[in-house]
């Protein structure tokens, strides 16, 4: 194969990967509003927080984060929400590892992790965030629940 063609193919491959990465970065971590979302059943979720079962939603908003074992960005996302929780006491962050809870993965159609469901004070899903949420996404979600 001619040298120029080989080089162009390799450069094309790098450009393709670059565009793919750029599109992924733009799209990941954005919130998608959910109309008439379902009510989350805490009993079925069986989530725990600091070793205790979660029995109530956040008074303003709850971020329900689904994580998995082999997910490094899940941890970064959890830290972001934990920091937020400390500054706003009416915000609740729940993290559920669904690696071994495939029933939940199936029910909520989770393919990638982290996937975060945004819930209002009654536990109804209002938005869904696929991938690590951007700070702007979180701020925007908080704003939509301003009291």
């Amino acid at each position: 194969m001619p040298e120029e063609l080989r080089l162009s193919l390799v450069v094309g491959l790098i450009a393709f990967a670059g565009v793919l990465g750029w599109v992924w970065r733009v799209r990941t971590g954005r919130a998608k509003a959910i109309d008439r979302g379902e009510l989350i059943d805490l009993k079925r979720l069986q989530a725990t927080k600091s070793g205790l079962p979660v029995v109530a939603f956040g008074r303003r908003v709850t971020f329900l984060q689904f994580s998995s074992e082999t997910c490094s960005t899940c941890k970064q996302t959890a830290r972001l929400f934990d920091e937020l929780e400390q500054t706003a006491e009416d915000v609740l962050h729940i993290e559920v590892d669904i690696t071994n809870r495939l029933d939940l993965a199936k029910k909520f159609h989770v393919i990638q992790t982290p996937t975060t469901l945004v819930l209002d004070h009654t536990g109804r899903v209002t938005s869904r965030i696929g991938g690590a949420p951007k700070q702007s996404t979180i701020d925007q979600q908080l704003g939509s629940f301003a009291i």
Binding site: L13, F16, L20, W24, S68, T70, K75, L102, I111
Partner: protein
């Protein structure tokens, strides 16, 4: 066994791997350098095997990162579990290994193709912090490809 590692370590390794894979694609596109491409893909496959079995922290690139790069960087904001990059290494092993093995059976087109596919994943990891374990682990588990 999983350990806690600096998340920038695997990205550093992915950058080296991506560079090698791009060179491999270039070599694999011409008949005169095809055997070199095959040998290089074999070396890259062994690298993936090492990472998949012993984990990224015990990989030569991990060692290089610890000795040469990390002392020049600020402390990481958080550590990550090594299971995520280890899973990515396993995926790399399957992709690169398939091309390497097919090369022995006269299917030489598999060499640059496998290198190109692995390049995209390694490049996305290095440049965009794309995490295969986050994106496809749960999907594979739900599809019962892995248990």
């Amino acid at each position: 066994m999983s350990t806690q590692i600096d998340p920038r370590g695997p990205r550093f390794g992915a950058a080296i791997t991506a560079t090698l894979l791009a060179v491999d694609v270039y070599l694999g596109l011409d008949a005169s350098t095809l055997s070199d491409a095959h040998a290089l893909l074999g070396a890259i496959t062994i690298g993936f095997l090492w990472g998949a079995v012993r984990g990224p922290a015990n990989h030569p690139y991990g060692y290089l990162f610890k000795k040469l790069v990390r002392p020049r960087l600020a402390a990481p904001k958080e550590l990550e579990d090594s299971s995520a990059p280890q899973f990515a290494q396993l995926v790399g092993l399957l992709v690169a290994g398939t091309g390497f093995v097919l090369g022995f059976f006269g299917i030489t087109a598999a060499i640059p193709l496998a290198a190109a596919a692995a390049f995209v994943a390694a490049f996305l990891n290095a440049a965009f912090n794309y995490c295969l374990g986050c994106q496809i682990y749960l999907g594979l588990k739900r599809a019962k490809v892995i248990r």
